[in-house]
Symmetry: C2
Subunit: 255 residues, 2 copies
C-alpha cells in the first residue's frame, strides 16, 4: 500500500467546499471519484484544510492510499485527464505512510483579493470582493498590527466550529494595493487590494472575519485603535462582517 501526496489547485466557485457531503458537489468528493476511476479501487482522500464553499486554493495538500502501480507522473496526468478543468493536480508524489497533511502542517498562508473600484471587472467577480467605497489603507495597515503575533482569536471565529483552543499565531499580515495588473492588459487593470496572512493555523472563517473587520476600519466604521479591544473581548459580535468566500485563496501549506 503506497501513500500519495497531491498538491492541488482549484477554483471553488462551483463547489460546496472541500469536505465531502451527500447530495452535493465538493472538491474532496470529486477527487475520491477521480482516484477511484484511475486506480480502479475506492480510496479516501484526506486534505490539509477544509476550505468553505466558494473558497479557492492554489496549494491545497491531500493524501490517499493505493495499491496501484501507476508511477507518480502517471497519477498526476491521469487525474488531470479525468478531473474537471477547475481542479488541477500540480504535483503527485509518494510519501511516508506516517505523513498526515493536517497534523504535519507547520504554517499556512491565505490571501484575499478586494477589487476597489466603482465598476468591478466583468471577469474577476468569481475571485474578488467588490468594495466600491474608498478605503484608507493606512488605517487598515495600522489596525492589522494588533493582530500579529500569538493571540486568542475567538472574536474572529465563525459560529458552528467545535474548536476549543482558539489561540493562534499570525506571523505575517500584509495589506498592499496592486495598482496595475499585467494579464490581459486592460481588463484586469484596476485597483486591487491584496491581504495576505500567514499563521500556524486558522480558525473557521478567521481570515474572512479579519478581512471584513479591516475593510470596516478602512471605511471608517471601526476606529483603528479598536482592534485590540475586539481581540481581547473574544466576542464575535464586535468584529466586522464575514467577507465573501469568493475573494479567499488558500495559498500554501508549509511542512
Amino acid at each position: 500500500m503506497r501513500k500519495i501526496k497531491l498538491l492541488i489547485e482549484y477554483d471553488g466557485t462551483a463547489y460546496h467546499g472541500w469536505q465531502i457531503q451527500n447530495d452535493t458537489t465538493t472538491v474532496q468528493g470529486i477527487l475520491e471519484d477521480s482516484v477511484q476511476r484511475i486506480t480502479g479501487a475506492p480510496s479516501s482522500v484526506h486534505g490539509a484544510s477544509r476550505t468553505d464553499a466558494g473558497v479557492h486554493a492554489l496549494g491545497q495538500v491531500a493524501v490517499f492510499r493505493t495499491e496501484s502501480r501507476l508511477d507518480d507522473g502517471t497519477i498526476k496526468k491521469a487525474l488531470n485527464a479525468v478531473l474537471p478543468q477547475d481542479i488541477r493536480i500540480l504535483e503527485a508524489a509518494e510519501v511516508d505512510d506516517l505523513f498526515h497533511p493536517r497534523d504535519a502542517a507547520v504554517k499556512k498562508s491565505y490571501f484575499y483579493i478586494i477589487v476597489n473600484q466603482r465598476v468591478p471587472s466583468a471577469f474577476l467577480f468569481r475571485y474578488t470582493w467588490a468594495v466600491p467605497q474608498q478605503l484608507d489603507l493606512n488605517a487598515m495597515a495600522e489596525a492589522s498590527k494588533a493582530l500579529r503575533g500569538r493571540h486568542d482569536f475567538a472574536a474572529f471565529m465563525g459560529a458552528g466550529s467545535d474548536v476549543r483552543d482558539t489561540v493562534r499565531e499570525i506571523n505575517a499580515l500584509n495589506i498592499e494595493r496592486l495598482d496595475r495588473v499585467d494579464f490581459m492588459t486592460g481588463c484586469l487593470r484596476g485597483d486591487f487590494i491584496k491581504i495576505w496572512a500567514e499563521a500556524n493555523g486558522f480558525l473557521r472563517h478567521m481570515v474572512r472575519n479579519i478581512v471584513g473587520t479591516l475593510v470596516a476600519t478602512g471605511r471608517g466604521r471601526i476606529p483603528v485603535d479598536r482592534m485590540t479591544e475586539i481581540l481581547q473581548s473574544r466576542d464575535r459580535r464586535l468584529a466586522g462582517q464575514t467577507a465573501p468566500a469568493k475573494g479567499l485563496f488558500l495559498e500554501r501549506i508549509v511542512y
Copy 2:
C-alpha cells in the same frame, strides 16, 4: 429622442454571442431587457461587433435611442445595477443621432490568450486556449509578417458569412510571451502567449483562424513560408484550425 453610446465589458462564457436570438441568452438580448427595465420602454441596442458565442469583450460599443430623461451617469449606474455581474457598462454618453457604431468604426483590435504550459491554470480556463506543446514563437512571428498589410483574407474567413468583400488591412499583428503574471501571485504565474491584432475590420472567425494557423506554425505542422501561399489561395482548407472562442477578446474600437 436621445441616442446613448455605451462602452461595454463582458465575459462571454455564459452567452451565445452578441447577437439577439430567440430562446437563447445573448449579450444584446440581456442589454435590451436591461434598457427597458431602467427606461420603461423597449429599445433596440445596436452593437459595433457581433462577437461569437464565448468570445469576450473589453470595449464593445453599442447605442440605443431613448425618451428617458435619466442623465448619462445615472444610465450607467442603473444599467450596472440590473445587469448580471459578467456584463459591465464602463461608459454611457449621449451622442449625435447620426453616429452608427459599426459604420463609423475606423479600426478595431482583438487579442487572443494562449496558456502554454503542461498543467493549465484552474482559474483561467474560461479565458485562454490551453496549448501544452512547445511553440516556436520566432516561427510564429516570422509567419505573421505575411499577414500584415492589405490582403484578401478569404482563406481565414469562417463558413456561413455573407460578406462579399474579403479584403482587410491589418495594421499590427504582435505575438508576445507573458512570462509572469502579477495578479494572484502564484496561480496565474505561467507561460502565456498573447496575440494582438489591429485592423480596419475583421471577417468572421478571422482572428481565431489566424491564431489556429500561427499555432500550427509554432508546432511545426505548417512551414513558416507557407503563410503567403495560404493567403493567396483564398482557400479556407489550407489554413489551420479555428482557435477556440474562449481565448478571444474584443479589445477596442476606434472611431
